[in-house]
Amino acid sequence: MTDLTFSMKQRPETEIDLSPLIPEKLDGMNLDRIRRIRLRTRHKTVAAGDLFEISGRDKTTVRFRRCKGPVSNIGLGMQSGIIDITGHAGDYLGRGMRGGKIKLTGTAGDWVASGMAGGRIDISGDVGNFLGAAGPEERFGMLNGLITVWGSAGDRAGDRMRRGQILIYKDAGDFTGSRMVAGTILVLGKTGMHTGYRMKRGTIILRTGQPYISPGFRSCGLLKMEFLRLLFRQSAKMGRRFAFFKEFGPEVYRYAGDLSCEGKGEIFILQNARL
């Protein structure tokens, strides 16, 4: 049985909400019914069949092909199954998802995995701002799960993050891990300014030397942190791509902060870690 595939016919002109197209909502529908699903745009609704060529029957895996333009909310609240996207996934990818897996070969916009409470998101390219962050007027960002970005992330990645892990293979923007409550963020490239700004707890792991550490952080010196071995070994179990380091100490510089808040967060700067 082939996977249910949505191939985009043309770039949508206005923002379009793809949240109805998740495995558990599509389960039990035939292709005709799926084609008739109404998708909301800013001012009207369109039928899914008008926007996509739809084929396949297996609804446990939903594929989006040639995805582009101002799409949003792919995988919103998803609880199970797999969504496989090629192209640009727009804003709010995997927002509030509770389980399952989203695999994106391409890029995504802002607010990816905002409010995510479980599952896994794997993105091959870059993402915008507010990765795993709290939405407007929300108390917490990502609540659990694992996000892997093999490209770069914008500003405020992990803002108000409560639990879970974010792995960013390249660079992250300003305010990475700002207002973090808990969880782990690993950045293997560079980060911008104000990393860990007002973080209460949680762990930010950086590979390269940080040109600027916020004055709210205090150095705990060069330490051997054995738990990082555990982290990297557990990551490596997820696949060869996740075996980040050929060599690893585990020597790190540890900075505790942000002391203007609870001060129980930490920034690690890895030493002798060779990719």
């Binding site: 707890r201 982290l231 070994r233 129980k264």
Partner: protein, 299 residues
């Protein structure tokens, strides 16, 4: 039945159900992991008075441990889950956490679990940090050597305690030499351990006593010095020393295998080197549901 001239009694070892958990102790070097494991398994020979039975199962290579450091697998047995929980918390807290550079992880996973680092985390006095990787919660407790890393819980599995065989020898020297070979062989069996000092019991017991305050007392039927004194002596004239090997295991199969390799190793020694008979301890089937018949095992 005779193996290499050693008589195998037509009897069975009687064993009873227990609860068990396996934990993995790692440290900077194997030596320090051993120190933690030795301390944890100290005074854990018998549930009669120690609260639990515990022993080192095997060494673990760095690639076998969660944190990539050398480690030791230890199995702890108790009569109930509650008893196991109490012993594990005390022993890990006092023996493993206090060992420099050590860390502690679960070695068994099941639906039933008991706290491992869950209670110990409070030693961190508010500075402890929780991390969840692959759905498993770990606690990082800041301590003077750095951090004590401990998995939150460990799985509890049904187990069997009291698998045994009894070695009848000319002298203690002959008996011990044979038993040492048996222990070496049993150490290679996964899921089975010998919890007594050196794996050998020098003072095997029977259930009960003439004294009402004692749960167990000397097994006079196997005491060489009482051969002519007690009516129920099971020893022949040439036997001058009796040693028992008690085996606890995570499964019947593990105990059977351990008994098989252990008895085989003892029998290799043979009567010329002072080993005459192999028997087993049982209480007529009243103690436990698991019966390990020596002759079936040695077929």
């Amino acid at each position: 039945m005779k193996i290499n001239g050693v008589l195998i009694d037509d009897t069975f070892a009687e064993a009873f159900p227990m609860k068990a958990t396996r934990i993995i102790i790692t440290a900077m070097t194997l030596k320090w992991a051993y120190r933690a494991a030795n301390s944890l398994t100290g005074f854990a020979s018998s549930v009669i008075a120690c609260g639990c039975e515990a022993a080192i199962e095997r060494d673990l290579k760095p690639e076998e441990t969660p944190d990539g450091r050398p480690g030791i697998a230890v199995i702890i047995f108790a009569m109930s889950r509650a008893q196991l929980q109490e012993q594990v918390e005390k022993r890990v807290g006092q023996s493993v956490m206090t060992t420099a550079t050590s860390a502690c992880f679960a070695g068994t996973y099941s639906d039933t679990h008991i706290p491992l680092g869950k209670g110990l985390r409070y030693f961190g006095d508010g500075y402890q940090i929780s991390k969840v990787f692959n759905g498993i919660r770990y606690w990082r407790v800041p301590v003077m050597h750095g951090e004590f890393l401990c998995e939150e819980t460990t799985g509890v599995v049904p187990a069997i305690g009291g698998g045994n065989f009894i070695v009848m020898a000319k002298t203690s020297r002959h008996g011990l030499a044979a038993c040492e070979q048996a222990i070496k062989a049993i150490d290679k069996v996964h899921g089975a351990v010998t919890t007594f000092p050196g794996g050998v019991v020098g003072s095997g017991s029977k259930v009960g006593s003439k004294y009402s305050f004692l749960m167990a007392s000397t097994n006079e039927a196997f005491c060489p010095t009482l051969k002519g004194q007690v009516k129920n002596s099971k020893l022949t004239d040439e036997v001058g020393s009796v040693l028992e090997i008690v085996i606890d295991g995570l499964s019947e199969a593990a105990i059977k295998e351990a008994m098989h390799v252990g008895i085989s190793a003892v029998c290799k020694t043979g009567p010329k080197k002072g080993i005459y008979r192999i028997s087993a301890g049982n209480y007529g089937g009243k103690l436990g549901p698991h019966h390990f018949h020596l002759r079936e095992i040695m077929k």
